[in-house]
Structures are given as C-alpha cells and as structure tokens.
C-alpha cells in the first residue's frame, strides 16, 4: 500500500464525511466550516492529480475568500439555527430523495463503468515537474479571449454586488 493510496483514502474520506456534515448540520457556521474542510481535502486530492497550482488557487479563492464571505454573511444576518418548524413539504422531500438517489446511482454507475483510464498521451502537457508555466502559456494564448471575458465578468460582479448591497437607491 503506497503512501499515495493512504493520502488518497484519508483525503477522500475526510472530503465525503465533511461534505455530509455540511448538509446535515443545522448551524450555518458549522456548515461553512465543514465545507472548508471538504475543500481542504479536495485540494489534497488535486495535488495527487498533479495539479498543485490549482490546489493552491482553490484553497486561496474558495477557502480563503469565498467561504470567509459566506461566514461574514452568516454573522451579518445572525443566522444561528435553521428554524425547527416541521417541514410542510413532505412530497418535496420524498421526491428530492428519490431524485438524488436515482441521479447519484446513475452517475456513479456511469463513472465507475468508464473502464480503465486511457494511457496519457505521449508528450502530453501534464503531469509535468512544473505545470505553472504551461498553464500560464495556455491562459494567454488559447484561453486569452475567455480570460478577457472573465475579467469583465469579475468587474461586473463587483459592481453588481455593490449595487445590490446598497441600502438606498438614489
């Protein structure tokens, strides 16, 4: 049993357990923290998949920024616990569970039956010793247009968030 397998087992177990916790717990803050743990475990999995850069970005952006934002909002809105009132929509719950189980089973079956993975293409780009230059070149050549579009999107999101959170509209 290789070290890699051990790391994989621990990280994926942690990811699944904390993801479940995220759904199950009733306190929003704990939900957020569980998700942070999930993301951290996912970052470890990403490193196993030869994507340390993506792993770092994922932790910085998701765990370090987005989820902190969530936490802020939770605190700002003072959401302590979900209302304990009984769920008045049992059918919704039932159908939802059915849908989850069916879709989950289907997807799982499909991915697991995908067969042996194809051998990585000879001279393929990754895995590489240092993949950051490769990603950089891709970003500014093949994905340049997407990159520009993305920058506009981020600007719009910033403006949108500002406008939405304004108290009064003059």
């Amino acid at each position: 049993m290789s070290l890699e397998l051990v790391v994989f087992a621990i990280a994926s177990g942690l990811a699944i357990v904390s993801a479940l916790a995220m759904v199950v717990v009733k306190t929003p803050v704990r939900s957020v923290i569980s998700l942070v743990v999930t993301f951290f475990a996912l970052a470890v999995l990403s490193i196993l998949l030869a994507a340390p850069f993506i792993a770092a970005i994922q932790v910085i952006v998701y765990a370090g920024a987005i989820l902190v934002l969530f936490l802020f909002v939770v605190m700002l809105l003072n959401l302590t616990k979900e209302a304990e009132a009984t769920d008045r929509r049992p059918i919704q719950k039932l159908l939802g569970l059915v849908s989850v189980v069916a879709l989950g089973g289907l997807l799982l079956g499909v991915t697991l039956r995908a067969g042996a993975p194809p051998v990585p293409a000879a001279g393929g780009l990754i895995p590489a010793k240092d993949e950051i230059p490769i990603l950089g070149r891709l970003l500014f050549s093949d994905y340049l247009l997407a990159f520009e579009a993305l920058s506009v999107l981020l600007l719009l999101a910033a403006v949108g968030a500002l406008v939405l959170s304004k108290r009064r509209f003059d």
Partner: protein, 344 residues
C-alpha cells in the same frame, strides 16, 4: 542506504530542526525578548527578577498559562470555541515548510555524498502555499470571535478578518513583483535569483515597504492591532479565552510574527545568502543557516521595536491605508516591475 530512505530521513531531520529546535527556541524567548525590548525602549528595566536578566520569566509565564483555571463560558459554541486557537496557530507553523533556511548541506553516509537542500518542501507553488494557509488562518480569528457569543469578541473577529483580507491583497501584489523578477514561484528559486543578481529590496524597495506594512497588519501587530484593542473591545476576539487557549493565541501571534520575518528575509533580503559569498561544504551550510536566522531575528526585532514606538491607528484609517494607498501602490509597483521584466 537507499535514496528513498535517505530522503525520508533527511526530511524528517529538517522537520525536526525547524519545528522542534528552531521554533521551540525562538518562540518562548520572544515572550521574554518582547518584555525586555519594551523595557529598553521605555527606559525601564523590564523583567529582571526571575533568573539572570529575568530569563526564567519564560518559565514563569508558561507555567501561568498552564496552571490557571481554564474557563469555558456557558453559551459558547463549544466545538468551534475549542477549535479556533488551533486554527490560529496553524498558518504560522506550516509556513516554515516551504521557506529555505540554508544552502545545500552535503551529507556523506557510507561513502556516498548527497546534497540536501535545506528546505523542508521545495514546492513549485511556494508562495501560493503560504497565502493559502494565511487565508485559512482567518477562520481562527472569526470563529473565536463568533463562537464566544460576545459582541466585543465578534467585533474583534470581524475586524481581524476584514483587516487580514484587505492587506492580503497588497501583500500578494507586492510579493508578485518578487516572483515576477525571479521567474518562479519557488522560494528557493527566489533566493537563488537574489544570490545571482541582487537583493530584491534594492530594485523593489516600494514593494518591500508595502509588504512590510502589510505584514504588520497581517500579524495583527501594533500599530494595526485593532482586533484586540483593549480600550475599545475589552480584549477583542480572545476576550473569552483564558489559560492554555489564550496562550495558544499568544503563540499563534508569535509564530505568525516569526513566519512573516522569515518570509521578508527570504523575499527581499536574500534569505540565507550574502552578496559575494558562496556557501559550500558543511560549514558553509551551517553558516548560511546562521545568516538566515540572523536576518529573521533582525526583522523580529523590528516588529518589537515598532510595537513600542507607534500609536494605534483608527479603524477607518486602517482601511483607508489598505485600500486607498497600499493597494494602488502595489498595483503600480507590480506594473512597473512587469514592464521592466518585459523590457529586459
């Protein structure tokens, strides 16, 4: 001894050295040093009763942290309340994994000589790794503030995290200049580049200033310690902590301080290198380690010095400084560096 076994042993030895020996030596001594420096600056003796130069004050303080009653308030969120100090401690500690603390050390075992780079993990995402963990460190403060179920604590936690998020941007942009110049995200690569060319502080002095100021804010040190401003917040995010858990916040702060100092020494002052000196052989490697720690301790002293000389900022001033001055400044600095690199 096979290569794999050797690598494992070497890594273990490096981990042992960095975390157990180096940190365990510096960290408690800092407590003492801070008091002594404070006394020096304010023209008073500082601790001088317990042992020579009050040196055993460390033991007295440590004992106090452990022996006091650990009070857990009634309405706190117990899980998160207990988790928060650990999270705070983490980023300061893990940062050292990627900081190179010396030149390569030749080790001869059984007639085979192997070069051991004196860095625990020479990863290609070095700086991103550090920023990732710094980002995670925010959770400690926010959670401590929130789980304490106390409005002052919450305010302190929010202040701390907002402050860290704000200054992380400037810090990142300033650091990006360094990596742009070196052409790699590996910290060891940055040190090698500085050894081959020039210390980054010379061409990127503006970047260094931004980084320095941001480092003060990131470590929640005066003049930016708004999160624990006693006069306003009755202690800030750790108001409800006592005894050992409070001690962990304390240690976390010091660990962060040491990490920031080491990082600045590495990014801007050539790390373990000295201009015009090549460190070879076992003694060379040890000398380079000494150089690195000397630089780090120099920065630590700067932190202490500033703490006892500057008054605290107001919160709006802090935010203005971060967003309206440092961030644009770091932008322009980065653009200038990029233009320079592109022109070369």
């Amino acid at each position: 001894m096979s290569d794999a076994t050797f690598a494992l042993v070497a890594t273990g030895a490096k981990i042992l050295f960095v975390w157990v020996i180096a940190l365990a030596t510096i960290l408690p001594n800092l407590v003492w040093a801070e008091r002594r420096v404070a006394g020096m600056i304010q023209d008073r003796p500082g601790p001088n009763r317990v042992g020579p130069f009050g040196f055993f004050q460390i033991i007295a303080d440590g004992t106090k942290f452990f022996m006091k009653e650990s009070v857990t308030p009634l309405y706190v969120d117990k899980l998160l309340y207990n988790l928060a100090p650990w999270i705070t401690l983490m980023p300061g500690l893990v940062t050292f994994a990627v900081i190179p603390f010396g030149a390569t050390l030749p080790v001869t075992i059984g007639g085979v000589t192997r070069e051991v780079p004196l860095v625990i993990a020479d990863v290609n995402i070095g700086v991103l790794y550090i920023f990732a963990f710094t980002g995670l460190g925010i959770y400690g403060l926010v959670l401590a503030g929130w789980s304490s179920n106390n409005k002052y604590s919450l305010m302190g936690g929010l202040r701390a995290s907002a402050q860290i998020i704000s200054y992380e941007l400037s810090m990142g942009f300033a650091a990006a200049g360094v990596f742009l110049a070196a052409g790699t995200l590996r910290l060891a690569g940055v040190v090698e580049w500085q050894q081959a060319h020039v210390w980054n502080v010379v061409p990127q002095f503006v970047g260094f200033l931004v980084f320095l100021i941001a480092a003060f804010a990131e470590t929640n040190r005066l003049p930016f310690d708004l999160a624990e401003a006693e006069e306003e917040l009755a202690g800030g995010f750790h108001a409800e902590y006592s005894s050992f858990k409070f001690g962990m916040f304390f240690m976390g702060e010091y660990a962060n301080l040491i990490a920031a100092s080491a990082l600045m020494a590495t990014l801007y002052f050539g790390g373990w290198s000295l201009p015009g000196v090549t460190f070879t052989g076992v003694w060379g490697a040890l000398a380079s380690v000494a150089v690195f720690f000397a630089k780090t301790i120099g920065f630590i002293f700067l932190f202490l010095w500033v703490r006892w000389t500057f008054p605290r900022f107001r919160y709006d001033q802090l935010m203005d400084l971060g967003w309206k001055f440092l961030l644009p400044l770091s932008f322009f600095h980065l653009i200038a560096v990029a233009a320079f690199v592109a022109a070369k």
